[in-house]
């Protein structure tokens, strides 16, 4: 009898002990919040420049950067660029990351694209039963693309730019599984520079990307 009781006790401990560890693991789960933002980025075979730029420091809090005038060769000129990133991760209460990039007057490719106000906001939240990211608050003001006014472009609106490539407006790309992780990158103006690929007879058989210009970028993610 005593031996049976002893084995039952050992069995009970064997069941309970791992469960208490699992509970502790869930409650003390490591969490993270990441955020970055930049005003202008140009990446070509001859130019590689990003400014202003801010990234959330390890441990969270806030970082910011700004540039009154940003000019990159013949690619972009921009005024009053501000980038702000904030965030924090708490194992009990959740994670929060918000990044923003705002600019005033912007001109790309010698006036091919102009706008007088860019706001990119990427928000990611884990808490209160919510795991989600969004681009709420992002906007473009008085946007003109190749001579045509574009108002309030929907996410991932693509417009071809003959002889140049194409532009994606209000470009949004989501990351994470939406259960334990969530993230989003918002690029308000993304020009993809292309060159034609010529066949043996000189005909255009396709296009290859030779550079990227991004104006107003905000990224955040949490877990």
């Amino acid at each position: 009898m005593k031996i049976d009781t002893m084995w039952r006790a050992i069995g009970l401990v064997a069941i309970v002990l791992p469960l208490s560890g699992m509970t502790g693991t869930v409650a003390g789960q490591m969490r993270a919040a990441n955020a970055q933002a930049f005003g202008v980025s140009v990446n070509t075979p001859t130019v590689n420049q990003t400014s202003p730029y801010a990234v959330l420091p390890a441990g969270g809090a806030l970082a910011q950067d700004q540039g009154q005038t940003v000019a990159v060769a013949d690619f972009v000129t921009a005024q009053d660029a501000f980038v702000i990133v904030t965030g924090d991760a708490d194992p009990t209460y959740g994670s929060n990351a918000v990044s923003s990039a705002t600019l005033g007057a912007v001109s790309l490719l010698n006036g091919l694209i102009t706008t007088d106000g860019v706001v990119a906001i990427a928000t990611s939240t884990l808490g209160d039963g919510l795991v989600a990211s969004d681009a709420e608050g992002s906007s473009l003001s008085n946007l003109i693309v190749n001579g045509t006014a574009v108002s309030d472009p929907a996410p991932n609106t693509r417009i071809n730019l003959p002889g140049v490539g194409y532009v994606v407006l209000n470009e949004q790309s989501a990351t994470g599984d939406g259960v334990t992780t969530s993230g989003i990158t918002v690029n308000m103006i993304h020009v993809v520079l292309q060159q034609p690929i010529l066949g043996a007879l000189g005909q255009v058989t396709g296009y290859q990307t030779v550079g990227n210009i991004i104006v107003g970028s905000a990224t955040s993610n949490v877990n």
Binding site: T86, N96, I121, T123, G137
Partner: protein, 212 residues
């Protein structure tokens, strides 16, 4: 039985009177008017907390609706504050650390041709507000800041901060005042969610943690 009945006859009126008195309006009680929320951000306590996040406000009017982009009538910001619940000798709730970056994009507030940019240089106080309807927590905090456009510094500022659940847009709130330059973005309308004087976020999120 006679005594019991007499006792009941004596105590009943007392009981009725006590009940009536308890229901009578107490002149010092804070009672909400029907259809409007309680007055907010008047009661505070020094307890550890952390408030993080940022985003966008479209003020005026400071509602959940965005103004037309071409108006440039909006503000963007980032704000972070931590407090461990300690007080100084005057009873002021001390802040451990914090940061504030505020950009006002409104054309009429441009300074030297650029958007008004406020940058906190010191966070001196932070207290938890206990009388708001901010579901997840609210705080009142502030310190000193510099106007980046002009270099004016050592200016007092205060912030009213509200985490009213997730997501932040349409729910959370934020307000700021810098008396020295007669600048404020505040929404005192008690019918405007969340707790006045905070203005409603149109982008971003505020997150309150009740621990350091």
């Amino acid at each position: 039985m006679f005594k019991l009945r007499n006792l009941a006859m004596l105590t009943a009126p007392v009981a009725i009177a006590l009940t009536a008195w308890s229901c009578e309006r107490q002149p010092n009680a804070v009672a909400p008017a029907i259809g409007t929320p309680l007055a907010h951000f008047f009661q505070f306590q020094c307890t550890p907390f952390k408030m993080t996040g940022g985003g966008r406000i479209d003020y005026p009017p400071g509602t959940a609706e965005k103004n037309p982009p071409a108006s440039h009538e909006y503000e963007t910001f980032g704000a972070h504050v931590m407090a461990s619940g300690l007080t100084d000798q005057n009873g002021t709730c001390l802040a451990d650390k914090g940061a504030l970056e505020w950009i006002d994009h409104r054309p009429e507030f441009r300074v030297n041709g650029h958007p008004l940019n406020l940058h906190a240089t010191e966070i001196t106080f932070a207290e938890v507000a206990t009388d708001t309807d901010c579901k997840d927590g609210a705080a009142h905090w502030g310190g000193k800041l510099r106007v980046q456009n002009t270099g004016q510094e050592d200016l007092d500022f205060e912030v009213w901060d509200c985490d009213n659940g997730e997501p932040g847009v349409g729910h959370d709130g934020f307000a700021i005042s810098v008396p020295a330059i007669d600048y404020a973005v505040m929404c005192p309308d008690p019918d405007l969610p969340p707790a006045e004087p905070t203005c409603t976020l149109t982008g971003g999120n505020r997150q309150f943690h009740p621990t350091h």
